[in-house]
Symmetry: C2
């Protein structure tokens, strides 16, 4: 079995993988920047459904690149998504990633108010002074809280990557975000995850 494997460097493996993905994926009317995001989501999951379910608001990639070039603060709803965002790329762009989910005071406040930690985390992010680029890969309640704060006029996120995975309230929460006039990239339907949220951020950063 070992001798059947082709030995290539990690860089070559990625290039060949992207060739295979291009060869097997359906054609679409993506811009080059959007296509890079679609392909990286497939690369991360080996799941070609991401060629069907990714939504880009008009000009979303250009807006995201502009924010990332400006060293934006990315806020995730899991430490796993934060861990998956490429640190070398972040450093190069002077961008940072933050996640409030594991903070002791977030857990305490969530318990006291009887709400999810994800909701409290979004409120923490909204209280930051700088523009916030959200990368949400887990909690539909995070998206719902963002929706509430946006529609009430309390807060305007700079960008939302909306990619929670799941079977209950997930599809609906992502459609709430899609209904807003906020630049966004959304993995519609059930699929997504912390890995997909991170992959979308990485696919954007790698274009700069």
């Amino acid at each position: 079995m070992l001798e059947k494997m082709t030995w290539v460097s990690p860089g070559e493996i990625e290039a060949r993988s992207m060739e295979i993905i291009s060869g097997e994926m359906p054609s679409g009317d993506w811009t080059d920047g959007e296509l890079a995001v679609v392909k990286r989501c497939i690369h991360t999951s080996a799941d070609f459904d991401y060629a069907k379910n990714l939504y880009f608001s008009p000009g979303a990639v250009d807006r995201a690149l502009s924010l990332l070039r400006g060293g934006v603060t990315i806020v995730t709803d899991t430490n796993m998504a934060a861990a998956g965002i490429n640190k070398a790329a972040l450093t190069r762009l002077h961008a940072t990633v933050r996640c409030f989910m594991a903070d002791a005071d977030v857990a305490a406040e969530a318990k006291e108010r009887g709400i999810t930690r994800a909701i409290v985390s979004m409120e923490r992010a909204a209280a930051l002074e700088e523009p916030v680029f959200f990368a949400i890969g887990n909690a539909p309640t995070a998206l719902v809280r963002l929706y509430e704060m946006i529609t009430s006029g309390e807060f305007v996120p700079a960008f939302i990557v909306a990619a929670p995975v799941g079977f209950v309230n997930v599809t609906e929460a992502k459609e709430l975000i899609r209904s807003l006039d906020i630049p966004c990239i959304i993995a519609r339907g059930r699929k997504g995850g912390s890995n997909i949220a991170a992959a979308i951020c990485n696919a954007l950063m790698y274009q700069i």
Copy 2:
């Protein structure tokens, strides 16, 4: 849209999600312990292919539970997988998770030898004194190095979760592990990922 969402607690959401998964997945001849792993992989990805591609070596779940009850050291090949493994469950079991990938000396050695950091990381793990439970979600070269060390008699891992995702050498590397007489759970084919490797570990720990 908001009013169409059903408001339930995170615990209830998980229970309902698992019901939906049970209702939509094919039947199989899994043990209860194996079924819990399959369902959690689907829960993590919303991808029902995990009902087809998960391989369990004979008695794998029982062996894994015994190791985890004994407070085993889990070694991952990404910080993302390490971040995805439930910390409360680890603490409860006195188990630990380690990842050598971001260590400066691992990067330096990989560069000097012209090999991947994943290979060096597996060698670091093999040098640990305690039994090692591997959770590999990214690098096929990690699996190949484990295969080499096992077949040469240098090292015997306690358990291998083999779940890299990808298009080049990934399927083959997982089949190498499957050919060995080492307790393992494998996501066969292209699919897998750090999220899946973590989900498999969590599904096992949640059974204890």
